[in-house]
Amino acid sequence: MKAGNVKYRIGKSGGFQALVVLFSVACVVPLIAILFYIIKAGITKINWHFLVNIPKPVGETGGGIANALLGSVIVIVIAALIAVPLGILGGVYLSENKKSRLAYWSRLSIDILQGVPSIVIGIVAYFWLVKPLRGFSALSGSVALAIMMLPIVVRSTEETLKLLPDSLKEAAFALGMPFHRVIFKVIIPCGISGILSGVMLAVARIAGETAPLLFTAFGNPYLSTSITKPMQTLPLLIFNYATSPYNDWHDLAWGASLILLLWVLLLNIFTKLITRKWKVQL
């Protein structure tokens, strides 16, 4: 082989390695840019008043996002209360019955559900709940978000439980445990870190959802805790106030964006910690 040829090949290899590094750095850039921009725009708006007051009417300065913060918490907690038990039990079924016909169809529909655009889920919740109940409500928003959470919880539960060795289940059955105890006392506790991380990721995912809430929770400029009434949430507040013509409201939207971003970041970090801490060593 000629020396020049080898040099060319070494150069090509080095160039490609540099390219790979460059692209992996480029993947981090959007996140850093978003963080930087939102922190820069939002950090000056956040203080104690911002967190505990509700928005002021146009023309008055100040005001906060207490109603949206509380609303988001309520809507998400109710969504989780609906989706988590359903999702975990569904995931248990799928991991226990890998080959049954029902498992095949439910796995397929879960996968399709995961791909349904969030706005479509919002519309469906509107026709199912808002119209029959004659009014926007936090509850209908929770249902829409629960539908979005469901596939994530089901699949993460299923994937986690599939990894548990069969010997564990056999040990439990051999002690004369009935099926439901095997599931609740052995299988779920052993997979709890994976299941919880799925739940947390699902919560982080829906925390920022706006589209399904547009025609369900709708938004509310006042503090409300009634789940049968319209309720403000962080994404709705950002959507409504950022598109308004008033500077004060833009500031609220920036501040709320930062809070939402921090919330999602913290949830992700917390998930990682839980997964590590509660992991059952098999």
Binding site: K99, S167, E170, A171, F173, A174, L175, I192
Partner: protein, 257 residues
Amino acid sequence: MESTTIKSPIIRSKNFNAYFGNNHVVKNVSIEIPKNHVIAVMGPSGCGKTTYLRCINRMHELIPGATSKGEMLLNTEDIYSMHPIFVRQKIGMVFQRPNPFPNLSIYDNVIAGYKLNGIRLPKADKDRIVEHSLTRVALWNEVKDSLTKKGSFLSGGQQQRLCIARAVAMEPEVLLFDEPTSALDPISTSTVEELFHELKSNYTLIIVTHNMQQAARVSDRTAFFYMGELVEYDETKTMFTNPKDNRTQNYITGRFS
């Protein structure tokens, strides 16, 4: 084969068959197992010995497509008309690989049969059961200071003895062992084998093994399975010195394995 009749056997199967789908893996097995004895079940891989063992406490039927047919009695009760939950509480099982519950402490692993079944016991009773069971499997002195640690913290041999303690804690009548030492080192193996002699006084032990020497060392009676059939079943001494069937002789002398 019916050279010695057994008085009031604890396990008796008659024309027992087991299947995986259409695959006939245990063929017409009739066997009588005497109380407080160690029975070794040996045979080459795929001879149906493990499947037969798993039929005794109805673990076989947990596998999709697995079925069985024939008579299987515990004392005088038909195992297949009892509820599997009761069967498995009376007939304990220890598996090939140690499988302590990784989410439970050593203490809770021993009383798992009570705790996870929702049977509430006073603290004193639990302490007594844990100490007694761990002593029976010669593990108490090794773990008495680390009872709150997780079961997976122990070595493989200790984990296997913990699993035996877990089965013993339920005070079963029969203990089934599915190749209990095949995942253990020689020292742990001999510790477990010594236990068999200890446990014999209170329980009936049925041990599946592919290790002939082990069968010869630990058992009072041996059953030899080949291609799903029970070829020979006799006193271990007789079996290893004077087998009646050609196939047994060939297996023991290592002409096939």
